[in-house]
């Protein structure tokens, strides 16, 4: 035997020399660790709540909506705790209603330890946040954002529990047809006004693309886009009036909804009805600012189902903590966004991003608040079950008029003239 061969043999012997005592001690140690493990992991989870980055426009032009969304997130904490979901820790971020700030704020949230992001209300900002989440491998649960390509370009870390533009438009068409049929009044022409941002443009684009497919009984005679930061909408309303559309379809935000209504009254522009596909027109602030003139507007938007048990819990929470506000989509979809994150964490049992992503893919929540029959995601990250309702403003309240299964009131259509409102 050569020296090298001897050395090799000796090494082998050393490697395999485990005594019975050492083996027994090892088995005991493994057994002890195994028995303590679940307790340790369970307590580690309780001691380390999931860090949820809540990205919203808390300042800038959409500040009031971002703050309204936060009310939904705040409601989630006590309600989800009562439902047995694990503890969450919010990390709040403000993207100042600026897309570039959304990008930097998302990166900052992740740098500071956010394990999942929920947001961001605005389509453009959500697209920016999605790109960062995709690069950094952190899940993004979209509360509100309708731009179709968010779930149409193969992103692996984006999960959207909100209808995209074509889904909103499709449901809007269905609800419009039902509304016209129920009331016996169908407009032959419609004028479309939309805010010229990512949300407004994508929705208006989807509307034009899908209208022929649905064989709508009207023709869109004019498409008027306007600046989201417009100071004055008198010319826009004048143009809409001059277009001769029998009904007005709007895709807008809050401030412009108020300005538009005032201008319509002042310019005596009385269409058959106002249909909105977007925020603003159902807001409490809108109804407060416009009073009786805000009545009869029909919003074709994702809404909650008041008959669901969790909706009743959420409504009770708002009645107690925000008695001046009714539950609206800003609240419900942000609430559900937080619930989706908590549910994924509960099932994953870990804050590891990959594990959370896998858990999000298998989400199946049936105890929810919106009209969606369940929350479950397609491989592209879209919840295909989300649906729209038709909600009409009446005396400062939002009443569901369609679908009939969730309706609490009969529609007023055509809308009452400005001078016929008491």
């Amino acid at each position: 035997m050569t020296d090298k061969a001897k050395k090799t043999k000796s090494t082998k012997i050393v490697k395999s020399s485990i005594s019975r005592r050492q083996f027994t001690a090892g088995v005991a140690a493994v057994g002890a660790a195994a028995s303590v493990g679940p307790w340790y992991i369970k307590n580690a989870r309780a001691a380390n709540p999931l860090k949820v980055g809540v990205l919203l426009p808390r300042s800038g032009g959409q500040a009031q909506i971002g703050i309204d969304c936060q009310r939904g997130a705040d409601a989630a904490l006590p309600i989800l705790k009562d439902l047995g979901y694990p503890e969450l820790k919010f990390m709040l971020a403000d993207f100042e209603t600026k897309v570039d700030v959304a990008r930097t704020q998302t990166a900052k949230l992740i740098d500071e330890g956010a394990q999942i992001i929920v947001g961001a209300f605005d389509s453009g900002a959500t697209m920016a946040a999605a790109q960062v989440c995709e690069q950094r491998n952190i899940p993004l649960v979209v509360n509100i954002a309708a731009v179709p390509k968010l779930t149409g370009m193969g992103l692996q870390w984006v999960f959207r529990n909100f209808p995209h533009g074509p889904m909103i438009v499709k449901d809007a068409f269905i609800n419009q047809k039902a509304l016209f049929k129920m009331t016996g009044h169908t407009p032959k022409t419609v004028t479309l006004m939309h805010v010229n941002d990512t949300f407004g443009s994508s929705l208006a684009g989807a509307l034009f693309k899908l209208a022929p497919k649905f064989k709508m009984p009207y023709k869109i005679v004019e498409k008027i886009s306007y600046d989201p930061y417009g100071r004055d909408l008198s010319a826009e309303v004048r143009k809409a009036k001059a277009s001769g559309g029998e009904a007005l379809w709007v895709v807008s935000r809050l401030n412009d909804a108020i300005m538009m209504t005032k201008e319509m009254v002042k310019q005596r522009f009385e269409p058959m009805g106002i249909m909105s596909t977007g925020p603003g027109w159902y807001d409490q602030e809108y109804m407060k600012a416009t009073g009786k003139f805000g009545d009869d507007v029909v919003s074709l938007v994702p809404w909650h189902d008041s008959n669901k048990p969790l909706s009743k819990t959420l409504e009770a929470y708002f009645a107690k903590h925000h008695p001046d506000r009714q539950v609206n989509p800003n609240h419900t979809y942000t609430f559900e966004g937080i619930m989706i994150a908590a549910d994924a964490y509960k099932r994953a049992g870990s804050t590891n991003a990959k594990t959370l992503q896998a858990a999000l893919r298998t989400t199946n929540i049936t105890n929810n608040v919106t009209t969606a029959e369940r929350i479950a995601f397609e491989p592209n990250g879209q919840n295909k079950y989300v649906k729209n309702s038709a909600v009409q403003n009446r005396g400062g309240k939002n009443l569901v008029i369609l679908p009939q299964s969730a309706a609490v009131a009969k529609p007023i259509w055509p809308m009452r003239g400005w001078k016929k409102r008491g």
């Binding site: 300042s59 100071r231 010319a235 143009k239 201008e263 310019q267 600012a289």
Partner: protein, 291 residues
């Protein structure tokens, strides 16, 4: 597009332009005399709007009736700001003055947020939703008409003050020849503070007038600061009549752009007009050329 649609748009543009002109007047007055570019312009105007809002909520006072009080309060604010803070940086390079005014703007926005919150707040007065009918097809919004009348009256008062009053003449003397004004014994520091106070008072009045037309929220200001810059550059920096002319031009061009092209093109038209003026008449339509 029919004639009446165009006529209605132009009438609205003219009335809106007069209000824009009043809001830009404060910037022009301050720059014309003190040579300081007020980056807190829009924010001071929003203070005036919030003041009118408070008066309406507490006392039910029409914003037009709040004008004297808002102007008086913001005059004191402007006077104090100039004499205690801005005067100390007047000798420093321009960029340091800009930063100071920008910092004041940020403080005003955040203060407003703390006090009033981020939600837009509107007032509903008896004529908020009313219009005048002139003939069969010309409809003039009452709020806009009253706002424009108030804007013209305030601008007239201001122009009269600078042209005919002793103090106004003294302020103009400071603007024309700083050293000469000192030599003849004018209290330049006091007159500068007075000018800033008058500029701020003008913004307070503009804020009250503007509340008739739009909702107020703390983030409204930057858009109006930018608009005022566009207007005074078109009209001529430092020229008061130029500010009014610039305001009318912007109001009418925006209204026309919205009707003839697309409303989303309004801002493009304002800035297009600005570029055109800068290319063809850099001193502005009513400004004096610098040799």
């Amino acid at each position: 597009m029919d004639f009446w649609t165009l006529a209605n748009a132009l009438a609205t543009g003219l009335l809106t332009g007069l209000v824009y002109g009043l809001s830009a007047l404060g910037l022009s007055v301050i720059f014309g005399v003190i040579r300081i570019v007020n980056f807190a312009h829009g924010e001071i105007m929003v203070m005036g709007m919030f003041f009118a809002l408070i008066m309406f909520r507490w006392l039910g006072l029409d914003p037009l009736l709040s004008i004297p009080l808002a102007a008086a309060i913001l005059f004191v604010f402007g006077y104090a700001l100039q004499s205690t803070v801005i005067s100390r940086v007047a000798h420093l390079p321009d960029h340091m003055q800009f930063l100071l005014l920008a910092a004041i703007a940020v403080m005003i926005v955040n203060g407003s947020l703390l006090i009033f919150g981020p939600d837009p707040q509107a007032i509903n007065i008896s004529y908020s939703f009313d219009s005048f009918d002139i003939g069969e097809d010309l409809i003039i919004d009452k709020s806009r008409a009253y706002a424009a009348i108030a804007a013209v009256a305030i601008s007239g008062l201001l122009l009269g003050f600078f042209k005919y009053s002793r103090t106004g003449k003294a302020i103009r003397a400071c603007a024309d020849n700083y050293l000469g004004a000192q030599v003849v014994g004018l209290k330049v520091d006091h007159l500068y503070a007075l000018t800033f106070g008058i500029g701020a008072a003008c913004l307070g009045a503009a804020g009250c007038v503007l509340l008739l037309l739009i909702e107020v929220h703390p983030y409204l200001a930057p858009g109006y600061t930018l608009l005022a810059f566009v207007i005074v550059i078109i009209g001529g920096l430092g020229s008061m009549t130029g500010a009014l002319v610039g305001g009318i031009l912007i109001g009418m061009s925006e209204a026309l752009a919205a009707i003839v092209f697309q409303p989303s093109m309004k801002s493009a038209f304002s800035f297009g007009l600005l570029i055109l003026v800068l290319l063809l008449r850099p001193q502005g339509l009513m400004g004096k050329s610098i040799k």
